[in-house]
């Protein structure tokens, strides 16, 4: 699959008087796996919502899949339908996303809204339940699920419609280590080839697995846009954008030193680091 998934040029957005995005420019090609990095309040969630046409640019130009991302364009039912069919967003808080009475209804919601035939919906539900290992949860109400189960169901409820573009907002937030590892493995290997994946996160431990390119946001601006490994090795950039912090560390042998530290682990700069 080739073509441009998103093209943002000098995009701005403000919540009342507070500027959330300030002249953001970048393009994402179909099939790319991109991590949107940034500390809290850097604008990555706003950007993700804009990419899913839940809010629209106050200035600049934004296009998705070759069509303009504007309020006027999305008043057209056909354009709206075509976009929703191809782009899916997994929200950070599964309680927001899982609004149906049961897991089965949750999976059925997207396909039914897109007008799929009943048998096709049922087949897709069956396949997705098994693909995500959640068949035993199908009759459970979402509020009775654990955090990891909720996240799995939330992703399944979006993946079921097989969108070309998958947007994820903080996919590993509030997950226990096992659920986090399972999710990263799924995002790295379980989505199949050719799908565009854009994940907003500040979890540096996972981006090497789930992305090939990283866009770093800081105070609503693009601070860097480069291959993920290059970004991970640019400690000054990570420190400047509050993605790592200086950490005083003591080893068991009594040796002490300072080095950068991410949310979940150490960022080693070299043999002496």
């Amino acid at each position: 699959m080739s073509g441009t998934a998103f093209d943002f040029q000098d995009v701005t957005y403000a919540y009342r008087s507070q500027r959330a995005l300030d002249g953001v420019s970048f393009s994402v090609q179909l099939g790319e796996r991109v991590a949107l990095l940034g500390a809290n309040g850097s604008g990555k969630s706003t950007l993700l919502r804009m990419m899913d046409a839940l809010c629209f640019a106050g200035g600049g130009t934004a296009t998705a899949l070759g069509a303009p991302l504007s309020e006027k364009a999305f008043e057209d039912e056909v354009a709206n339908f075509a976009f929703r069919r191809r782009v899916g967003l997994v929200f950070q808080n599964p309680d927001v996303q899982l609004f149906n009475p049961t897991v089965l209804d949750e999976l059925a919601f997207g396909p039914l809204q897109l007008g799929w035939a009943t048998q096709r919906v049922k087949d897709a539900i069956e396949a997705t339940l098994h693909r995500f290992g959640i068949a035993h949860l199908k009759d459970r109400p979402p509020h009775r699920l654990s955090g990891g189960e909720k996240k799995r169901v939330a992703i399944a409820s979006v993946i079921i419609t097989e969108p070309d573009v998958l947007l994820l907002d903080e996919p590993t937030a509030a997950l226990d280590p096992k659920s986090r590892a399972d999710l990263v493995a799924f995002l790295a290997h379980g989505l199949g080839d050719g799908r565009t994946v854009i994940a907003a996160t500040h979890d540096l431990d996972i981006i090497d697995d789930i992305s090939d390119r990283a866009i770093v946001l800081s105070e609503g601006k693009v601070a860097a846009d480069a291959p993920t490994l290059d970004i991970l090795h640019d400690i000054d950039l990570l420190r400047r954008t509050h993605l790592v912090f200086e950490h005083h560390h003591r080893h068991g042998d009594g040796h002490e030193h300072d080095h950068p530290h991410g949310v979940h682990g150490h960022i080693h700069q070299g043999p002496e680091g």
Partner: protein, 285 residues
């Protein structure tokens, strides 16, 4: 009036619950009632086997019959039928008594109490000291109101206790209830737990920082603050949920998957219920 601190007994005997403690217990109670209903709805009982659509129509017909009957004996039989259905559906009577019968009796009893004295008729006895007459007709009127309320409430609760809530919603939609109403009912049920959890956490956070008993105005301020915060959270949650729905293709019309199956036993149950209702209403029993 002083508020006893959490875990501290100020009465020298039975422990009295403070405001926050009562709130916490109440919120936990909401969860536990829901869990109980989810448990009973999948028991291998009689009503659990029926198609939810059939159950909604059949129980509604029985409720209409119960509130329409002109005879106390028929009302008593309807109540007995509801109790029998509960037993056959493995619903414990003590639970019905606790959750429905006692509350309905007290509530409707208070409302109809004056009727016992003011409905004209044959006095069967008089209240001691004040001498008000208790009339037979007044007692009959009170018995009708209480009996109808008890029977209707029991039959309604049977629907909820023997049917998973999502199936009740789907049944309502299948029976032509507007999608918007069904969606609102579904989301109310879904998010009441998220908000209950939120309220519980707020109450516990307050309770954990409460150093001294609260006086009346402080307690009222505390409650108002909590209600305000919860309302703000509700609005924020509502906006987010709408965005999540739009993101998955929602355009104002909720579509549901309807996969109910109706078997001969369902039709037999429906016919029996409709037959009872038609007989009572048609023959003015």
């Amino acid at each position: 009036m002083n508020e006893p601190a959490y875990g501290v007994c100020s009465c020298g005997g039975k422990k009295r619950r403070g405001l926050l403690e009562s709130l916490v217990f109440g919120l936990i109670g909401v969860e536990s009632h829901s869990l109980e209903a989810e448990t009973t709805s999948v028991l291998p009982g009689l009503l659990q086997r029926f198609d939810p659509r059939i159950k909604v129509v059949a129980l509604l017909a029985l409720i209409i019959a119960a509130v329409s009957t002109q005879r106390l004996t028929v009302l008593a039989l309807m109540f007995a039928l509801a109790t029998g259905l509960a037993l056959l559906s493995k619903i414990r009577l003590i639970r019905l008594a606790r959750q429905v019968w006692l509350g309905v009796f007290l509530f409707s009893g208070i409302i109809v109490l004056p009727a016992v004295f003011i409905v004209p008729g044959e006095a069967i006895t008089h209240l001691p000291l004040i001498g008000w007459p208790i009339t037979l007709q007044g007692l009959r009127s009170a018995a009708f109101v209480i009996g109808r309320a008890e029977t209707a409430a029991t039959l309604s609760l049977l629907l909820v206790l023997t049917t998973p809530w999502p199936h009740v919603l789907k049944a309502l939609r299948s029976l032509g209830v507007p999608a918007a109403i069904v969606a609102i009912l579904g989301m109310t049920y879904r998010y009441i737990f998220v908000l209950t959890q939120s309220a519980l956490q707020m109450a516990e956070a307050r309770q954990s920082r409460l150093m001294a008993p609260l006086d009346g105005p402080a307690r009222r301020r505390l409650m108002l603050t909590m209600i305000g915060t919860l309302l703000t959270k509700t609005l924020a949650l509502g906006t987010e949920v709408h965005a999540a729905m739009v993101a998955r293709g929602y355009r104002g019309e909720v579509r549901l998957l309807d996969d109910f199956r109706t078997r001969p036993a369902d039709w037999a149950f429906l016919l029996a219920a409709l037959g009872i209702a038609a007989t009572i209403i048609g023959a003015r029993l």
